[in-house]
């Protein structure tokens, strides 16, 4: 569609609103309010048409690496729209919100079992927010132990998600980046060299953003802990390991979960997310408050943790996402979650092998939830391959990430895709590798708009009507 902006639709608002003639003092009064006036039929049509200009999980496979775009189950939509849950006010008396507190408590418990951590807070509102919360916990930990003045450094591998260094910097730490080893994993020498009594935290994800499992993880944990630092688990790639291993078993101190990835809460075009944080033993007292507790009879909001970092958001986190994740975990169960991981990893390795003829696949062949391939072997740019995929009605992989792979295409098929779609995807990517490189640059042709001038958008920003 060549869809007009809302401000360009002048059908005149016809909504039946409440009536009121109350006035406020002149000194407070707004003179004019010029938001668009559009009839309800045009509001409906406008947004319905806009929606159809989107690709979505409900339309097809969405193999964005590190994003875990799996089916967002409709049973969770239904449950999260039950007014008994959603109309509850966060400041309603505790005894009147036992249902919601039960959901939160049980989700905390589920996440503990899944991660083998000792305590969980559901408060953070997204993955990056969970990271920041985790870093605040680490900060407070060192502060309580009198070491904050010295421990100013957070070590992060060069393959890490961008949020890791951004969150660390936001909390006032210096970021020390270490290169990956030739096998795509943490370079143990570099890590040893970087660790010191100035180190507050080492942040990694496992499997890492190359989809490779860091098999020296216990050694890493020992090194980090010996240096007096804490070890942080970026949970973005958790879908690779459910029931197979866990951050707890691997020796992590702090972990965040992305409910909108691993537990299939919908991504909504860019949020809401939900990024609960789990910690081991002695860090339990540092969690943001409140946490939900159960005394055998009733659920309570506990604000009284000895070293709590306090509040990181308005209330208790993204409750409707907790509710969806709770439903997802109950539906699949321990057995189903493990099976989901198995299917996700199987799908990835299948797709990787199918692509290996035309695409270079750096590092060891056994992948977990995602595979990073390079298009440099095809003589075509990753971005151009992506646009070819768009023109064939599917969504491209993440491109140009991780930064350490040249012309990277990072592919995460997840478990909710059929073999037929995997094969179709592989076929399209293999075709793209044979397509005329100049033709590729003119793609996409079949989408709502063609390639967009991003430079102009940034140079002469037009950010509103």
């Amino acid at each position: 569609y060549d869809e007009p902006l809302l401000s360009e639709i002048s059908s005149g608002n016809d909504y039946h609103h409440v009536e009121s003639g109350a006035a406020i003092p002149e000194s407070l009064r707004r003179k004019s309010l010029d938001i668009p006036s559009v009839a309800e039929y045009d509001v409906v049509r406008h947004y319905t048409r806009l929606s159809q200009m989107n690709y979505a999980v409900d339309i097809g496979m969405y193999p964005l690496g590190s994003c875990t775009m799996k089916l967002n189950p409709k049973f969770a939509d239904r449950i999260s729209s039950m007014p008994e849950f959603s109309t509850v006010h966060p400041l309603a008396p505790e005894e009147s919100v036992q249902g919601n507190l039960r959901v939160m408590y049980e989700l905390q418990e589920f996440l503990k079992k899944i991660s083998d951590m000792d305590a969980v807070s559901l408060q953070p509102l997204a993955g990056a927010h969970g990271e920041y919360t985790g870093i605040l916990i680490a900060r407070k930990y060192h502060e309580v132990h009198g070491e904050l003045e010295r421990r100013r450094e957070v070590i992060i591998p060069d393959s890490a998600h961008g949020t890791n260094p951004a969150s660390a910097a936001m909390a006032g730490f210096d970021v020390v980046e270490i290169p990956s080893s030739p096998d795509g994993m943490v370079d143990m020498g570099a890590l040893r060299a970087a660790l010191s009594d100035r180190t507050a935290l080492f942040m990694i994800t496992n499997p890492n953003t190359l989809g490779i499992f860091e098999d020296r993880i216990l050694e890493i944990a020992d090194l980090v802990h010996s240096a007096g630092a804490l070890l942080y688990y970026d949970g973005a790639n958790f879908n690779a390991i459910l029931g197979k291993t866990s951050p707890g078993l691997m020796g992590f101190d702090i972990v965040h979960f992305n409910l909108h990835k691993t537990f299939a809460t919908p991504h909504g075009g860019g949020g809401p997310g939900s990024g609960p944080v789990g910690v081991r033993g002695e860090l339990r007292d540092y969690l943001p408050v409140p946490v939900v507790e159960y005394d055998g009879k009733a659920y309570h909001l506990n604000y009284d943790l000895r070293h709590t970092i306090g509040a990181v958001s308005s209330y208790y986190g993204s409750f409707l996402m907790h509710l969806r994740a709770w439903a997802y975990i109950l539906y699949h169960g321990g057995n189903g979650l493990t099976r989901n991981t198995e299917r996700a990893v199987l799908n990835t390795n299948y797709l990787a092998k199918r692509l290996s003829g035309a695409y270079r696949i750096p590092y060891k062949p056994l992948k977990k939830h995602e595979v990073v391939v390079s298009s440099d072997s095809t003589g075509r740019r990753a971005q151009d391959i992506a646009k070819y995929i768009l023109d064939n009605g599917m969504h491209p992989p993440t491109v140009y990430f991780p930064l350490i792979v040249h012309e990277a295409l990072m592919i995460e098929p997840t478990e909710t895709v059929s073999k037929a779609d995997l094969d179709r995807y592989a076929d399209i990517m293999l075709e793209a590798a044979r397509e005329d490189p100049e033709g590729l640059k003119r793609m996409p042709l079949n989408t709502a708009v063609g390639r967009i001038d991003e430079v102009r958008a940034a140079r002469e920003p037009k950010l509103r009507w």
């Binding site: 409440v18 009064r29 947004y47 936001m170 291993t245 509103r464």
Partner: protein, 435 residues
């Protein structure tokens, strides 16, 4: 697929995980049917108490959500899409967010709005961080009656900056900020001044118009109620540099505290210091209008530790809800909702004020949603009266503004919206009236 991969079982795919850290399944019950899950969810939902009337508010309101909003945001194409990294197949989300930025900028009367923050409190935290990036100073001036939890979030957001807080007075007679006190506290290291409208006493504050002139070149941050802007002077008209708000009221339910929507608007000149995602208009290869995420060099996935914020996933779907809400109501509808809110708070005050021993709306100003009410009995007694009448409400002032607990020990907030009925107010009056 196993045979194609030349492996005997799926287990082989996990052979790279050392035995020492191997887990054999998760110690949770097996999966259940959708039927059982739904029945369980219904039974858990029924553990929440249902009230006949609600006066809960203090920043979160159960306003009426037009059905159009739910219809639009539940469409799979919006609900199950990702951050629009591939703009050609994300024009729906991109245009909707561009429109959100435009609508909010008009509502705030500000130049630019980013495409969403997590919630109002974190948006305020980010605003203070942004002020620091603008002028590098270290003092933030806050109203003395700011919600304690909001303050806590600001503290956690500025912990890496070495920011110092100071508080200015709020007048106990008018309920408005004390402009003289504020003026006296502004100094050369004042980074930002935060004003609230309505403020945490529930008062629509006419004094905000005079703040700009007394704070020099400190960054003026306004925290406002977006529904009130249907009738109340917007931040852009009193010189705010950054305006933030909790957008939950614009088409979302209370959601037990989340997901919410952080709205953040600012002056155009500060856009490259601003946090979060932002959508821009551009053209495609054939010159047609198209939308795209822009100014990404401010962001974590490009700038990493030097990014303006760590925000990746934000609240796109909630921004969409707010847009659809405003588009559906239109200017007249929003005005009516705001106006009706003022009308109901004034009815609440007159109704309760007639009761013996009750002081409703102790300040002289105009109330928007939240009305402080002083009652002549204990918290337990109040709870008992409200519960037996099926009324939710009465958030203790000391629980949300802890530093003023001693001064207002018996004051509770009762809040109204356009949904509040005369019947509900009458029930409240009856419940609170001394027998």
């Amino acid at each position: 697929m196993l045979s194609y991969l030349g492996i005997g079982s799926v287990d082989d795919l996990f052979s790279d995980i050392p035995q020492k850290v191997r887990k054999s399944g998760i110690d949770l019950p097996d999966g259940i049917s959708e039927l059982e899950l739904t029945a369980l969810a219904e039974s858990v939902a029924s553990m929440n108490r249902k009230y006949r009337y609600s006066f809960l508010g203090c920043g979160v309101y159960d306003r009426f959500v037009p059905a159009v909003v739910d219809t639009v945001i539940s469409r799979g194409e919006f609900l199950t899409s990702y951050t629009p990294y591939q703009p050609e197949v994300s024009q729906g989300t991109l245009q909707a967010l561009f429109e959100y930025q435009s609508l909010m900028s008009q509502l705030m009367a500000m130049d630019v709005t980013n495409s969403s923050m997590y919630d109002g409190f974190t948006a305020l935290g980010e605003a203070v961080r942004m002020a620091f990036r603008i002028n590098g100073r270290h003092q933030v001036l806050l109203p003395e009656n700011i919600y304690t939890r909001k303050l806590g979030v600001i503290r956690n957001y500025t912990i890496g900056l070495g920011m110092k807080e100071a508080f200015y007075r709020v007048d106990r007679s008018t309920g408005s900020l004390d402009i003289e006190d504020l003026k006296g506290k502004v100094g050369s290291d004042t980074c930002a001044v935060v004003v609230e409208n309505p403020n945490s006493f529930g008062i629509l504050d006419p004094e905000v118009r005079h703040v700009r002139e007394v704070i020099g070149d400190a960054v003026l941050i306004a925290y406002v109620d977006p529904v009130s802007l249907g009738i109340v002077v917007p931040p852009g008209e009193y010189g705010a540099d950054i305006a933030v708000a909790e957008g939950q009221q614009l088409g979302m339910r209370p959601n037990f505290g989340g997901p919410f929507l952080g709205i953040m608007s600012f002056r155009e000149e500060y856009v490259r210091k601003s946090p979060g995602r932002i959508i821009g208009e551009s053209v495609d290869s054939s010159g047609r209008r198209a939308f795209v995420m822009t100014l990404q060099t401010r962001e974590q996935h490009i700038r990493r530790q030097r990014a303006m914020s760590n925000i990746c996933t934000n609240q796109a779907l909630m921004a969409l809800a707010a847009s659809v809400y405003l588009a559906t109501l239109g200017p007249e509808g929003l005005r009516a909702v705001a106006s009706r809110t003022v009308e109901m708070s004034s009815r609440l005050i007159s109704s309760l004020s007639s009761l013996h021993g009750i002081s409703a709306g102790p300040f002289r100003g105009t109330y928007f949603s939240d009305v402080p009410v002083k009652v002549p009995y204990s918290r337990e007694e109040l709870r008992r009266r409200l519960e037996s009448a099926g009324i939710a409400g009465g958030i203790p002032l000391p629980s949300v503004i802890q530093p003023l607990a001693a001064e207002f020990p018996d004051t509770y907030f009762f809040s109204v919206t356009e949904k509040t009925t005369d019947q509900a107010i009458a029930a409240l009056a009856q419940a609170l009236g001394v027998e």
